[in-house]
Subunit: 308 residues, 3 copies
């Protein structure tokens, strides 16, 4: 798929070939930055970052990627309190306005489907940076890229997704993206936070081996990659329910020592207590490297979507 | 008038010649961007955007314009909560500080006269991006530029300004700017939201035909341009009064079909319900094109004020 | 000391030689900008500004300095409300993430020691832009630079630090930085706001003549530099105590006229009522020039830390 001018709405839109093509570009950018090269592929281009829910991490990652390619940024870090929204403007109108100020729009919104709605209204590319409990496709790409970078391959691995699989949009997007590869899945969650049926069914319909369990320790003895997630406090109506579930899984150094050799430990961040800090210094810990990989893969995406 | 180093405080400061000069520069920039040319006229220059009232639209438009010319931006998106203001700093002191960080300052403030006060204190150019119910001169320029671009001329047109003419600074500035051309005016408002006497009197004193009416449908049968405005909720002390007036005028597809041919429909945005969305796809609808034109005319202004 | 890759945590880390080296670079940058030269020393580099306490002044000063050298910026203007912090992320995790998006991090935080903690976690340079009532080393450098620029030297001067010496981190950092020069000190404060013993003791241990007094008028008859400070409302638990102390010292035109000739009047800004506005137009008033000097000295620092 030629990405030029395309919206990025769901991890499911990428073929295996697309993903490997983006990896190659990201590798190239990474190597050239490492050598101190100044990249100017997007000189003169502007990216708008419009965040209805604040997100330091994703916003800065995109803004860094754009500038590393010589482009510029206009930013609405807290769109919910922005004047036009407070005055009652619809998302469609906001997008049709902001597209006059930039060549593409990165959108974070609290409602599922917001990125699609924005793309329907916009004439410039919309990049979904998270739509409520929906999707977060560029996070999925950076997660895949990290697995490939650390393990050398994705095919043949068992990936355990752990924690709040119900509300975590990153695991929804990651599961879909991984389905382009030959992967075995373990979905590890308490019943109240289980993976939505639509994701599990999607995997099974495509002949993936999916194990659903709540036993983290046993899963770790066979998993190659464990992807921990934060229980999403902001998605709970009942604080007591949150308190009961928030520390259901805690990955510590002891658990890692009893896991399969070379277990890769990932987390989309921010973490609260799901991974104890004594894991940080282990070679298994890849979660801060994920953040770095996010810049390279977003550079690749922006270059493909906007590049000349 | 040579704009180099000048403040932009009121639409009344521009002669017809100034306006046409800015149009020519904006046309040129627009054409060169269209061809993919990279403009660098303001390379090395910095613009500060300081917004005491948040405004996504105007702030991003200026920041986009500056960067499209190769310049950079420092931004205070929510100056009211900024630490120095919270600590009790005066506007004069804030401006005398920020002028050390940039070559010009774009100021949005809630009080009429704030831009003039800032200009009195500052040694760098101040661009008024809205001072309470006062003026918004760059909005007026982009409105004129849109009329000229869509109609091919401004002289000889009847322009209807509709809605909250009392509190709408954009219509105050637009009326003043239009007074440089041979235009007939219809001011369409309920009595409680009528155009302030100082604006109406200013027009009449300069021998303009000004019709004041509250009948939108009849006005549309003769107007060439209708400029709808939002009733400014934030300027009402009494919410009941706002509720009574907010939907006094609603322009819909049916009204447009019964209007004069080629009616140009404009709105400074954001809209709430003043124009129904079924108007958006009509060729008459120019309101999103206004946003695009805003970037070109602000590029022209910045180039003239800061350019070498 | 070679500053390349170094953290900037305390004013005490700079030797006299370091300071004079930075002055020379700042002078050079200032002269070249004055001539209209475009500097590109940091082209391709990115600076992250991360402010847990908002500070328009310091944030914009760093962002301006970075861009004046051709670099780019990613910014978190209100980190306290940022999503990752609201979700419970530690400062160490935030820093270990953001270091993937930029080549150095400017950090403002409400807690003493936060910059050191960030530096312990980070692999990129951390620049302390204020840590609670702790230090503000780049403010100290710009203050020194202003004294040198206005007086031609620092050695041999009597410097009076006045006001909230207890909570004012700028005076803590300035006193430490001045200790590299042959200076006499007057600490002028009411007992409740006296300079912390650790700073006074540090000065005396290094054989500085330190006068502690609460008599401003008498001090001014012999001081060459008076450094006024705002009583830091936000550090008071008891509002009555604040009200009692806030206007303890007010420097007005009359006091300046009775002071030693050529008294240099400084203030880190924002001021509230500590200096009356009738002082602003006197040649003695250097406080707005301080802001300008801040850009040059921060350019020098950034160039040394990040430059190739």
């Amino acid at each position: 798929m030629d990405l030029k001018g395309k919206d990025i709405l769901t991890a499911a839109q990428f073929s295996r070939e697309d993903i490997e093509h983006l990896f190659a570009i990201a590798d190239d950018f990474s190597a050239r930055l490492q050598k101190g090269e100044r990249l100017r592929r997007l000189d003169g281009k502007l990216l708008a970052t419009v965040f209805y829910e604040p997100s330091t991490r994703t916003r800065l990652s995109f803004e860094s990627a754009m500038q590393r390619l010589g482009g510029g940024v206009v930013s609405v870090a807290e769109a919910k309190t922005a004047s036009s929204v407070a005055k009652g403007e619809t998302l469609a109108d906001t997008v049709r306005t902001i597209e006059n100020y930039a060549d593409a729009i990165v959108l974070r919104h609290s409602e599922v489907g917001a990125a699609q709605a924005a793309a329907d209204a916009a004439s410039v590319p919309i990049l979904n940076a998270g739509d409520g409990a929906g999707e977060h496709p560029t996070q999925a790409l950076l997660d895949l890229y990290t697995i490939r970078a650390q393990k050398g391959r994705i095919d043949g691995l068992r990936v355990a997704l752990v924690g709040d699989l119900k509300n975590g949009r990153t695991v929804h997007s990651l599961a879909r993206a991984l389905s382009q590869f030959k992967v075995d899945f373990s979905f590890v969650a308490p019943a109240a936070l289980a993976m939505p049926a639509e994701v599990s069914d999607y995997m099974r319909a495509r002949d993936f081996a999916v194990e659903e369990t709540n036993d983290l320790a046993r899963t770790l003895t066979k998993a190659d990659v464990v992807y921990m997630t934060r229980v999403q406090k902001e998605r709970f109506a009942d604080p007591k329910q949150y308190d009961k579930l928030k520390n259901f899984y805690i990955l510590n150094r002891d658990l890692v020592s009893r896991a399969k050799d070379n277990l890769l430990v990932m987390h989309p961040l921010p973490r609260v207590d799901e991974i104890t800090t004594d894991v940080d210094s282990l070679p298994n810990a890849a979660y801060f490297r994920q953040a770095r990989n996010g810049v390279f893969i977003r550079m690749a995406l922006l270059a493909e979507i906007l590049g000349g």
